[in-house]
């Protein structure tokens, strides 16, 4: 239990996936203009990362390791994740049109979200068990959602701010992210 707690605090605050590990920067900067879409993206990523954690762990332990083809990890994982996202999209579209309307637009973006593949690889590198992998993935996804929602809140305020012309758009977003990253540095030493 204590190990899980350490994983969760570490992933959400200390090594925040976006602000200190730099995974998933594209959706972080792309989908953080509105609070509602930030929440939608966060939920979609959490869902896919949890599923991907289980499936990639099983693929690694039941297929790649027994067959001695661990070097195919990158190819196998990206294919698994891409098909998983497609599959989830189809299932949601058939079963829950409401959910599809809320998450549908974000799902295709997730295939190229390096956070999903990155965390799947990290889970294997740290030789986590299936349960720890799942906890680590969900905790990282929560960290992603937290950063995304905070960023969206700040950017909604920035809309009205008088920003110098050269800084508008991407530069001010990056500098905002830098300040958030500084704040998250304060969590170092929490554990």
């Amino acid at each position: 239990m204590q190990e899980m707690f350490v994983i969760i605090i570490g992933a959400v605050f200390i090594n925040n996936i976006v602000l200190s590990q730099f995974l998933g920067i594209c959706p972080f900067l792309g989908v953080s203009k509105k609070l509602s879409s930030a929440v939608g993206m966060g939920v979609a990523v959490t869902f896919v990362m949890a599923l991907a954690a289980i499936i990639t762990w099983l693929v690694q332990q039941l297929v790649l390791v027994p067959l001695g083809i661990g070097y195919l990890q990158t190819i196998a994982f990206i294919l698994v994740i891409a098909s998983l996202v497609q599959f989830v999209e189809m299932v949601i579209r058939k079963t829950s049109p409401d959910l599809y309307r809320a998450l549908g637009v974000y799902l295709p973006l997730i295939t190229t979200n390096c956070a999903v593949l990155g965390i799947a690889i990290v889970n294997i590198q740290k030789s986590y068990t299936l349960a720890s992998s799942l906890v680590n993935s969900v905790a990282n996804a929560l960290g992603f959602t937290l950063a995304l929602v905070l960023m969206a809140g700040i950017r909604e305020r920035l809309e009205d701010a008088d920003i110098p012309k050269s800084l508008q758009g991407m530069p001010i977003s990056l500098i905002t992210a830098a300040l958030m990253s500084v704040a998250f540095l304060g969590f170092t030493g929490l554990l």
Binding site: L19, S20, Q21, F22, L23, G24, I25, C26, L29, Y71, L72, Q73, T74, I75, I78, L79, A82, T111, T112, N113, C114, L117, G118, I121, V122, Q125, K165, S166, L167, Q168, M170, P171, I172, S173, L174, I175, A177, A178, L179, S181, V182, L185
Partner: protein
């Protein structure tokens, strides 16, 4: 478009990082030293070159409806090869780039060039396109990492610049430094562009 332009567009007018702001993750994560920037740029260029050649050669064979999965498999294969070569011949670099080598697979620039260029153009033009984009991205990484290494560690490519008493701003090689450096460089480029216009 002339062939020279296929090459040069990736470096200036369509620079993947500075103009198109693609491939941000590695540009923030591994740019703590110039050596990392060059290594990442070289690995990226190798993968882009190989995948552009392969996809350009196969462009008439790959069916249109399943082209994206095909591109991903081709790119992932070359990433795996690059990873193995780096593990064997540059273990120190392999270790410091870490997870960002396999993550070249999901770098949107490579899939973007496959989809937008290599699948529609001949091999020679695709090679030039890949080299231009690769050099442009490497240059961008080197610029970001120079700013971070010089300010954050007081060295350039591992060579100390200041005297023993020189204080460096440690924050530039910590995670926030990545955001600060890239944000300021982009703002500076915007400023220059507004001036010349």
């Amino acid at each position: 478009m002339s062939l020279a332009k296929e090459f040069s567009k990736g470096i200036v007018s369509d620079n993947p990082l500075f103009r198109l702001t693609l491939g941000m993750c590695p540009s923030l994560a591994i740019t703590t030293s110039v050596a990392n920037g060059i290594g990442m740029g070289a690995a990226f260029t190798a993968v882009l070159l190989a995948s552009n050649i392969a996809i350009s050669l196969l462009r008439k064979i790959i069916p249109d409806s399943i082209r994206i999965p095909c591109y991903i498999v081709i790119i992932a294969s070359f990433v795996t090869i690059t990873e193995m070569v780096m593990h064997a011949y540059a273990p120190a670099l392999f270790k410091s780039l870490g997870i960002f080598i396999p993550l070249i697979v999901v770098n949107c620039i490579i899939l973007g060039r496959a989809e937008a260029f290599a699948s529609k153009n001949g091999v020679f033009a695709s090679v030039l396109d890949a080299l231009g984009m690769g050099v442009g991205y490497t240059l961008a990484l080197v610029i970001v990492s120079t700013v971070r290494e010089v300010l954050g560690a007081g060295t350039f490519y591992g060579i100390p610049l200041g005297g023993a008493s020189a204080q460096s701003a440690l924050i530039m090689i910590l995670p926030p430094g990545g955001f600060i450096a890239l944000g300021c460089i982009l703002a500076l480029l915007n400023k220059l562009q507004n001036k010349t216009r």
